[in-house]
């Protein structure tokens, strides 16, 4: 084998490695870009800390989209969530909950902080720019729309289900609005057992 052919072979190897790396990167990135619940977004939590798609990895998650001006569905779901955490006790230690505002204009980190802390110290309030909120809502197929109430007042129509994600951030199912507590707890225990 001549020096020239070795050099050629080495260059070929470099090219093959580079190609493999590119293909691997594309393949590894793929699941983050497509599929239910997949997307990328830059949001903030109630303490102003950055939140992106990676926060759902590492623990099972209950994810809810709502707004603090919500008269019924959101406070009810928050109260139910509080009782889930209470009922699960230590068993639910790994569970994290997220309340993502679909009304970011009014739901500042400060407003969200007290609102979600009422539920548990394991719930995070999430807000951000309307554009970034639109991205996370789109990823989860969440519907929301502004409904005017006269004057400057408005309310929001929105998807009311709680999404359940396993520790790898994969979607596992939902808890419907006002789902029976025993059923909801069963789903959460299932999720915790799998994670």
């Amino acid at each position: 084998m001549t020096i020239k052919s070795i050099r050629l072979w080495l260059w070929g190897a470099v090219a093959a490695l580079a190609l493999t790396a590119i293909v691997a990167a594309v393949l590894l990135r793929q699941p983050e870009q497509t599929g239910f619940g997949r997307g990328s977004y830059n949001l903030i939590d109630q303490n102003g800390q950055p939140v992106d798609q990676t926060v759902f990895v590492g623990h099972p998650t209950a994810l809810f989209f709502g707004f603090t001006h919500c008269p019924e569905v959101c406070p009810t779901t928050m109260a139910e969530m509080a009782s889930w955490f209470e009922q699960l006790g230590d068993e639910g230690q790994d569970l994290r909950a997220y309340f993502v505002s679909i009304d970011p204009q009014r739901d500042t980190p400060e407003v969200l902080g007290d609102y979600v802390s009422w539920v548990s110290d394991r719930i995070t309030g999430v807000t951000g720019t309307p554009e970034e909120i639109a991205k996370i809502a789109k990823a989860w197929g969440v519907y929301y729309a502004r409904v005017d109430l006269g004057g400057d007042d408005y309310t929001m129509d929105h998807t009311a289900s709680v999404f359940l994600l396993d520790a790898s951030g994969e979607f596992q199912g939902t808890i419907a609005y006002r789902e029976d507590q025993a059923t909801a707890l069963g789903k959460l225990r299932n999720l915790l057992a799998k994670s």
Binding site: T68, H69, C70, P71, E72, V73, P75, T76, M78, A79, E80, S83, V111, L112, D114, Y115, S117, W118, Y143, V147, L149, G150, D153, T155, D157, H158, T159, A160, S161, T174, A176, Y177, R178
Partner: protein, 161 residues
């Protein structure tokens, strides 16, 4: 003079006396309307809105209408309808109020018709009451207190488990 004082006393009594009769079970009889089981729910921190619920029976022969509501506890009280469409919560203001057909009971309950307290002047605290004035097209205004139940209460009296 004594007669005058007595008349004044009687008049003042008339002014403060409630304009409705109330049953042992708390049902308020207001003209042809029977208002029962009123309640609201404790609000979460920073929640600027709250819902009000009750049953309104129209025992009269004519239709009436709940046209408006107000409360010192809120900047505004609106009459709303909530409905679930699939997994989406939708809410609408009933700009023309809520129809009360004769002989029927219309229930304002979680998941359906409700009073929406907007711009709360104070948090609703479980165990306290929230005053509200309801205005009916025919029966006129009536004032009542909504007992504040837990944040996810479904009814005025929670069942014991």
């Amino acid at each position: 003079m004594i007669r005058f004082l007595r008349a004044a006393f009687a008049a003042s009594f008339l002014l403060v006396a409630p304009a409705f009769a109330q049953d042992h079970d708390g049902t308020i009889h207001h003209a042809d309307l029977n208002l029962s089981a009123p309640f609201t729910r404790a609000t979460l921190p920073n929640a600027p809105v709250g819902g009000g619920f009750l049953s309104i029976q129209n025992a009269g022969a004519d239709a009436d209408r709940l046209v408006s509501a107000s409360s010192p506890a809120a900047a505004m009280v609106q009459i709303h309808e909530m409905a679930m469409e699939g997994d989406v919560m939708k809410m609408r203001q009933l700009a023309d109020g809520l129809e009360l057909p004769p002989g029927e009971t219309v229930t304002l309950a979680p998941g359906g018709f409700h009073l929406m307290f907007m711009g709360l002047t104070q948090a609703f605290v479980e165990g306290e009451t929230v005053p509200v004035t309801l205005v009916f097209e025919k029966a006129g205004p009536v004032e009542l207190d909504l007992p504040v139940m837990s944040a996810a209460a479904d009814a005025a009296h929670t069942m014991s488990h």
